[in-house]
Amino acid sequence: MSLSTPETVGGQTAAGITTSLNKGGKPDVAGRVIGVLLLLALLGSLLILLTLVVDLINRSWSVWADGAGDFLSGPLNSSDASQAGVWQGIKGTLQLMVVVVVAAFPLGIACAVYLEEYAGKSRLARFTRLNVRNLAGVPSIVYGLLGLALFVQTFNLGRTVWAGGLALSALVLPIVVITASEALRAVPASVREGAFGVGATRWEVTRHHVVPAATPGILTGVVLSLARAAGEAAPILLVGAATGLLRTGSQSFWEQLGSSFTAMPVIIFSYARQPGEDFRALTAAASLVLLVVIVLMNAVAIWLRNRYQRQW
């Protein structure tokens, strides 16, 4: 008997029939075992995450109990735990992210559009794709060295947000290119063909049909790479993020982009190196803050993706 012809047979759905057929035959043991194993894998991952969060909250409890306001608004101070806070780190991380958004994303998305829509299957395009994939696997500290040599010294940007942000941009650029490429490739060929069919130019097809259709995927990739950049310590440490004390005084936003900076991962690193119970609690608290910042970024990613989701 075929299950595919009518949607219901004698008032029974296809799924219902399958179930009743299976009941008559041998039970689906392998399916159930796999189902349980997959569930365990999921629960295991969630348990690790839960343990981490609970442990961080537990270790940092004294910091929140003593007044979260002082901690959240305090400066980087790796000597006196009572004065130490994370405000400079939150600010620095957001400033770095602004540079990454401005520098890496337009460039990365443009690269992806070129590779997917314009370059075709030329030797150069294949070579470029291969290299981009390899670059995405280069350890982040190497990008730190690049940032130090190129942005800090050659371009003479100094130990500034600009240099740190550009080093992070170089780090996430290949990831942006790859995720944006995947998103563009996932747009059905029929969309392009339909547009070409009514006489649109390549630019019109790309601009009005392919890129808008790929936007959810591109945005997801973009924000995930932003979260990656926000969590990196090694590159910006090499570029010269402040580790001891940072007070930015009354500098304006633009002045701050051109002066000393620090970031959340660097603050965690600085506090973790200090001896004493106080700094242990501060390290956990700073980790929690970074976690919240990154979760918020991911939430934005999900929101944006859902906002632009299209059904085919």
């Binding site: 808008p212 945005l219 973009v222 936003f253 000393s260 632009y308």
Partner: protein, 361 residues
């Protein structure tokens, strides 16, 4: 979907980030600043100051810098501590305004500075004193000379797990080396357990440089180091606990921590060639206690001319900073404050803007 709406939303993330980062242009700790200003009177000094150098001096510069920034909201300050040598490299390259140092500047570093036209002012700011410690239950040992310490903790002591095992070594060294104190042998027949700071610590470096290397130099041992087989910890409290837990333990630690833990550890007298000296705030500040070293800051003269915030910062550093923020009190950095003479020298060197080094070269 209509395009303009989508375009607006597409920038939402970027805009949100810009807004968030823009929204805090004012001083990060405006609350405390406002409170400080009422008491000390606000100042209109502005500029940015970059301090680098010794990680030993870093806590002093952080404490002073933080206080100065509270009182002068127009000043941006960055402090880091990559090490004295790295600090001087940056300093002589004109990258930093102030260089922290746990030793006087070396001749080759001065040449490096001169090559780049960087004149400097050398200011002593505090004294870093170490204490050799044992358990309060240890009555058998009262004083150790540098010779004893070399025999007990030096490279040749590796594997020695009983105090008495180092007696012969101390006698042998004492017979040839005469200016590092006399051996206090025989050592007791008791287990020797050593707990001390690990290699990453500035206190480790200080001990090696002052005690072990001076012994090694006399004996012709190149690059003598501490025996590797001891319990190392970066945490001073763990070291104190380790010393207290064993009746016949031995170790060393920053003097400030000993003062706070006199009920659990006993500081030993140390003979550096001039007899046994008890470590006290006075003997360390005066240099009488042999395991002590001066901590310095070096001020860049070109930076003084170009950076108007630097002179007020140094004024604050030596006139208020080191007199109120160094010591063993709550919120103070645990080093030994300068004695009156040294402080007077520091102040006069600064007031007269005397360049060059007095202690180094």
């Amino acid at each position: 979907m209509n395009t303009p709406k989508r375009r607006i939303l597409a920038g939402a993330l970027a805009l949100a980030l810009v807004a968030a980062a823009c929204g805090d242009d004012d001083d990060s700790s405006s609350d405390t600043t406002a409170a400080e200003d009422e008491s000390s009177g606000s100042s209109d000094v502005s500029g940015s100051i970059f301090v680098s150098g010794s990680s030993t001096v870093e806590p002093i510069s952080i404490a002073v810098g933080n206080e100065f920034a509270d009182q002068n909201p127009g000043v941006a300050i960055t402090v880091e501590g990559p090490g004295t040598g790295d600090g001087f490299a940056k300093f002589c390259n004109g990258e930093t305004d102030v260089s922290d140092a746990s030793r006087p500047i070396k001749a080759e570093e001065i040449e490096n500075c001169e090559a780049n036209g960087i004149e400097f002012i050398e200011l002593e700011v505090a004294v870093d004193g170490l204490s050799v410690i044992t358990s309060t239950a240890n009555d058998a040992v009262e004083c150790l000379s540098f010779v004893d310490l070399y025999a007990l903790l030096g490279p040749d002591a590796t594997g020695v797990d009983n105090w008495s095992g180092a007696t012969d070594a101390a006698d042998t060294i004492g017979a040839t080396v005469t200016d590092l104190g006399t051996p206090n042998t025989p050592f007791p027949d008791a287990p020797l357990t050593v707990t001390a700071p690990g290699e990453e610590s500035g206190t480790f470096d200080s001990f090696v440089e002052i005690v072990i290397e001076s012994g090694g130099d006399e004996l012709g041992v190149e690059g003598a180091n501490v025996r590797p087989d001891y319990t190392a910890s970066p945490n001073d409290n763990v070291i104190i606990e380790g010393i207290a837990a064993n009746d016949t333990s031995l170790g060393w630690i920053g003097f400030a921590f000993v003062e706070e833990n006199l009920d659990s550890v006993k500081p030993l007298q140390v003979d550096g060639g001039a007899g046994c000296v008890e470590p006290t705030t006075e003997t360390i500040a005066s240099g009488e206690f042999p395991i002590a070293r001066s901590l310095y800051i070096y001020i860049s003269v070109p930076a003084l001319e170009s950076n108007e915030a630097l002179a007020p910062f140094v004024d604050f550093y030596i006139n208020e900073g080191i007199t109120t923020l160094v010591g063993t009190g709550e919120g103070q950095v645990p080093y030994v404050p300068l004695n009156e003479d040294s402080l007077a020298t520091t102040v006069s060197v600064w007031d007269n803007r005397e360049t060059g080094t007095r202690d180094g070269g």
